[in-house]
Symmetry: C2
Subunit: 339 residues, 2 copies
């Protein structure tokens, strides 16, 4: 519908609070961009835990870890996951001993898994453990798991039902996907701090990061109360489309959309979130789609390669939120004057 | 009493079965020497588990691991513990995250702890886990924990009661020792396979390796049934003294002996084991002590620096066992002829 030009000459005023929902790599990049623009404590990042699993007796939280490493400046830029300057001697030794090795854990990365597992078994919450480690590693944002309860993303495929990591890593996303479900979601309780953040009067934007809508964002929205909290919020809900030029930037998004019979377009993304969002950010390469979308659209460079890319996209999102907020206020005034 | 010259010109016949009792480094070296002389399955190494502890949520068995790494040819020769070619990135990362780091675990070594912990928690026995890993890493000997039950060596010091690793690593053996006890030993059950090995009719020698008698061998002997099984055995029990030239080769042996009011001599070692052993192997440098010892003595080079040192000492021990066995047989015949 309406399309807003990116306007870097008049950035919005220092924004208030922001909540970002995200999965792993792509989402974490935008979260980092947002963090650079916001003061300490202003950004809450609610992270998918549907990919969490137990491996070698350790509790692994892939998306939480990617967000942590990205915000702490520890992530490997080339590989796209795990830590920079990583070594793999643990894994090599484990293979010699006959241990499981289908999921690679770097020697440095392992510290997080061992420490988290120990503390969880000692009765600490995932939130407390990740929060303390985030603080220690210099992260300014508040990183929250979507829930403390176990939710497990199950990918229904031609080869049977696969827990997410089995599908993603062990089967390298090869089996055709027919359905995705979130085991345990119905009984999970949305993170209270997330609900508080979503209800905060100073909240200026809720950002759904360019993560896989079906695998990374849907598990968050499947936790009872989160979808309603987004709908109830005073702040605009903005989605950054993970589709660029009719393709997904990373991961199996496009493949899954095709298998589920969904066209690989930002319009499909908009439709997926339709009763939930107030605006969509799409890439320049998909600008032609803007007019087909029945909602406000912001066109921006959504591919985030450099630090500058991340910050610029985050700024575009916050500016867009400001425009939507101003517009809603004007509309309210207008309705008021018609009375 | 009697002293036997080392005689390499006439090695004993291919020996039958041997049981070695040992702690960590020094004991493991002799176990390796014995393994090189014996066929697969002939050597059973019963290892102290009194030093075992839980750390970072992982089950650590320092002596079992040292024996495994030594027999598998994976141990670090220079450092004296852990694996060769080790890296320390896990530990460095753990420190950054605020985790405990007083006990260093190398990246490769960690694989053993993670794999063992996972399998123990899944219900496997320590024996099964270590046995399978030993087999995989090419170890010919049977490595047995002295018991499957938890026995914990407690060092009573001027600074209070310290679990062994706290005393040994965290306190660097500094506090003066007044007593050493073995928590849980009374309720522990000697490893059935060890009792079987000690009762085997083909057993030709029981070797108490040059480990710390108070910290490494006493916990094994504290497990009900093991001491009696040694006394009952048809094979000679031989101790290799850990004292060389009035000093301990490694670790806190000499310091502890002094603190406990025991003179740092092989005679003290002989007295410590007096109702249990049939012969003592002492170093050339302590040859003068041989005549003061009220038991058969073999003089050998007990310092094991090279692979050849280990094998030569092992051969001396086995030859000594043969001499003692022949002597006992002659004595029986003599007693028989006097009837």
């Amino acid at each position: 519908m309406t399309s807003y030009k990116e306007d870097r000459s008049s950035p919005s005023e220092r924004p208030g609070r922001v909540v970002a929902l995200c999965g792993g790599v792509g989402g974490a990049k935008l979260a980092l961009g947002l963090e650079t623009l916001l003061s300490s404590g202003q950004l809450t990042v609610a992270v998918n835990t549907g990919d969490d699993f137990e491996y070698l007796g350790l509790r692994i939280s892939p998306d939480l870890d990617t967000v942590l490493y990205t915000l702490a400046g520890l992530s490997d830029q080339t590989r796209g996951w795990g830590r920079a300057g990583e070594t793999w001697n643990f894994m090599a030794a484990l293979q010699e001993l006959g241990g499981e090795s289908w999921f690679s854990l770097g020697d440095r990365d392992l510290a997080l898994h061992v420490e988290r597992t120990r503390r969880l078994l000692a009765g600490e919450t995932l939130t407390a453990v990740m929060g303390e480690i985030a603080h220690r590693t210099g992260v300014k944002a508040r990183i929250l798991p979507m829930t403390e309860e176990p939710v497990r993303t199950i990918v229904h495929t031609a080869d049977g039902e696969l827990p997410f990591q089995q599908y993603f890593v062990k089967h390298a996303c090869k089996p055709a996907v027919s359905e995705i479900t979130f085991s345990g979601a119905d009984d999970a309780v949305a993170h209270p701090a997330l609900l508080d953040a979503l209800a905060h009067p100073d909240l200026t934007a809720i950002v759904i990061c360019p993560s896989n809508p079906y695998l990374s964002i849907d598990p968050i929205l499947a936790v009872p109360g989160i979808r309603a909290a987004l709908q109830r919020s005073v702040a605009p809900v903005i989605v950054v489309s993970p589709i660029v030029g009719g393709q997904a930037v990373k991961g199996p998004t496009a493949k899954i959309m095709t298998e589920l019979g969904i066209s690989v377009t930002s319009r499909s993304v908009a439709e997926h979130y339709r009763d939930l969002i107030d605006g969509l950010v799409i890439d320049h390469s998909d600008a032609a789609e803007a007019n087909e979308l029945a909602m406000p659209v912001q066109i921006a460079r959504t591919l985030m390669q450099t630090a500058d890319d991340k910050q610029r996209l985050a700024q575009a999102v916050l500016d867009f939120a400001q425009v939507l907020t101003d517009q809603a206020a004007a509309s309210t005034r207008l309705r008021g004057s018609h009375r």
